[in-house]
């Protein structure tokens, strides 16, 4: 079996943000999406840059400079996209998270599961 990258929780968050944003994934939008996903925890823009660099070094994401735009003072955006390795790492993380969820439900019972599903329902509404 091919070796996969171990990724941390914050890296999963950033990869998910890039996946969700598709073509529009650059510093500002990734940060906004990561804050939305991490709510109620805050996310700093600096931490997003550091993680994007690390993901790039691991080959999980790639980037390119877009054309300059006036609202950015004529500066270009660095747009990110998931690489095949990044998609695979994210899929594996999602599977692990699902297993953890199932194990928690088995341990804490159906009531706990219902309460959390209700809580998430409120958040997504």
């Amino acid at each position: 079996m091919a070796k996969t990258n171990n990724i941390g929780q914050f890296e999963q968050l950033i990869l998910t943000a890039i996946l969700a944003l598709r073509e529009d994934a650059y510093g500002v939008t990734i940060h906004a999406k990561a804050e939305e996903l991490a709510d109620p925890k805050g996310v700093s823009l600096g931490a997003v840059y550091v993680t994007l660099d690390r993901l790039g070094d691991k080959g999980l994401v790639s980037s390119r400079l877009s054309d300059p735009t006036p609202e950015r003072g004529g500066r270009a955006k660095r747009c990110y996209q998931l690489e095949a390795l990044g998609e695979r790492a994210l899929r594996e993380s999602a599977i692990t998270a699902r297993r953890m969820w199932q194990a928690s439900v088995e341990a804490w019972g159906g009531e706990w599961e219902k309460r959390w599903r209700k809580q998430w329902g409120k958040e997504t509404a």
């Binding site: 500002v28 700093s44 823009l45 840059y49 550091v50 660099d53 950015r72 003072g73 500066r75 660095r78």
Partner: protein
């Protein structure tokens, strides 16, 4: 709607962000700008992370370890003043010698973080290491005023600094930075026709060779000046002969470089085939030059080095109480290490040139 940050504030922030990340980070900060206070706060929270990340990306742990060893060796093998023993034999100096090592390493990390991510030529690398050593010397001068016991003697700092420059320069030539980590992909480059492409390749290669030759001349001038001063300073016959032979070796190497290895003139105009033939000729000439480096570049330094080492061994044997004989072996080891590093670096460059020749041949046969 976002606001524009004050020009002065933006200028200061721009200077703090490493050049490799400046474009997108400044653009992102401007896009998020809601006013001067928010912009400043955002920049203060973001820029340290960007600097730290770029520093991590531009740091090769193997190079840092080698640099630390080279710096410690350079400062410890220097004598406090001409004729004195090296600092390595003074236990009280072992800890103070770590201070310039740490200062140089920190300076180098910042220089790497803020250096432009384009091609690092020999001249650029020499300027970078010279800047780091100059910063170290300035820090040591402050230490000399504040806490003299912890500062290196000025003679040792000067001589150690010169040796450190050469060792660092050679290390960085032998272990070039991984550009793919320093520089992320930019916007797609414009397509060129094969004729323009080969012209540009030939032009760049010619500039690279001229730049290398200029650096070699400057290096040789430094060597000649340094050993020229030592020639008049020393009273020992063997040392005088050794210094004179090293100067003669430098002059011979530079004469060879000037007369045999300067790049030829490119064709004024012509087809792909003409430029390709010119470029190939130059590549082959430089590859052969690197292949024969012992004959014209390293070899001429050997007689001087051998005479100096032999003279030092005899002198150490005669004055065993004044001078520790192992300092001679440390000096010989450094001389050998320098030659080895130059040879290995040139072997690597020779292999790269051969790859370029193979690529060019493959491209020419496809046409």
């Amino acid at each position: 709607m976002n606001k524009t940050p004050p020009k002065m504030m933006e200028w200061i922030v721009a200077r703090m962000v490493p050049p490799a990340r400046r474009e997108e980070v400044l653009g992102d900060l401007q896009e998020r700008c809601q006013g001067p206070a928010q912009y400043l706060l955002d920049a203060l929270r973001t820029v340290p992370h960007v600097i730290a990340s770029q520093m991590r990306r531009s740091t090769d742990p193997r190079l840092v370890i080698c640099e630390a060893l080279a710096l410690y060796l350079a400062f410890l093998t220097a004598p406090a003043h001409p004729g004195a023993r090296s600092l390595i034999f003074d236990p009280a100096m072992l800890a103070p010698a770590l201070i310039p090592v740490a200062a140089s390493l920190v300076a180098l990390r910042f220089i790497d973080t803020y250096s432009l991510t384009g091609a690092r030529t020999r001249t650029v690398i020499m300027a970078q290491v010279a800047l780091a050593v100059a910063i170290t010397c300035a820090a040591e001068q402050i230490l000399w005023i504040e806490e003299r016991a912890m500062a290196l003697p000025r003679g040792a700092l000067l001589q150690g600094g010169i040796l450190a420059c050469f060792l660092l320069w050679m290390l960085r030539m032998a272990m070039p930075a991984d550009k793919s980590r320093l520089q992320m992909a930019g916007p797609g480059h414009t397509e060129q026709t094969p004729d323009e492409d080969i012209q540009q390749q030939a032009k760049k290669f010619r500039e690279r060779i001229r730049d290398r030759n200029r650096t070699e001349y400057a290096g040789a001038a430094l060597v000649i000046a340094y050993f020229g001063i030592r020639l008049f300073e020393t009273g020992q016959l063997a040392a005088r002969i050794g210094f004179a032979l090293i100067i003669a070796g430098s002059i011979y190497a530079m004469y060879h470089l000037r007369t045999k290895e300067s790049p030829g003139a490119p064709p004024a105009e012509g087809t792909y085939e003409k430029y390709a033939a010119y470029h190939r000729r130059e590549l082959v000439r430089q590859r052969d030059l690197l292949h024969s480096i012992w004959r014209w570049y390293l070899g001429p330094f050997l007689p001087g080095g051998v005479v100096l080492i032999a003279g030092s061994v005899l002198s150490a044997a005669a004055r065993q109480k004044q001078r520790h004989p192992s300092s001679v072996f440390v000096g010989a080891a450094i001389f050998g290490l320098i030659l080895l590093l130059i040879w290995k670096g040139n072997q690597r460059a020779e292999r790269r040139l051969q790859l370029e020749i193979d690529d060019l041949d493959a491209e020419t046969s496809r046409r």
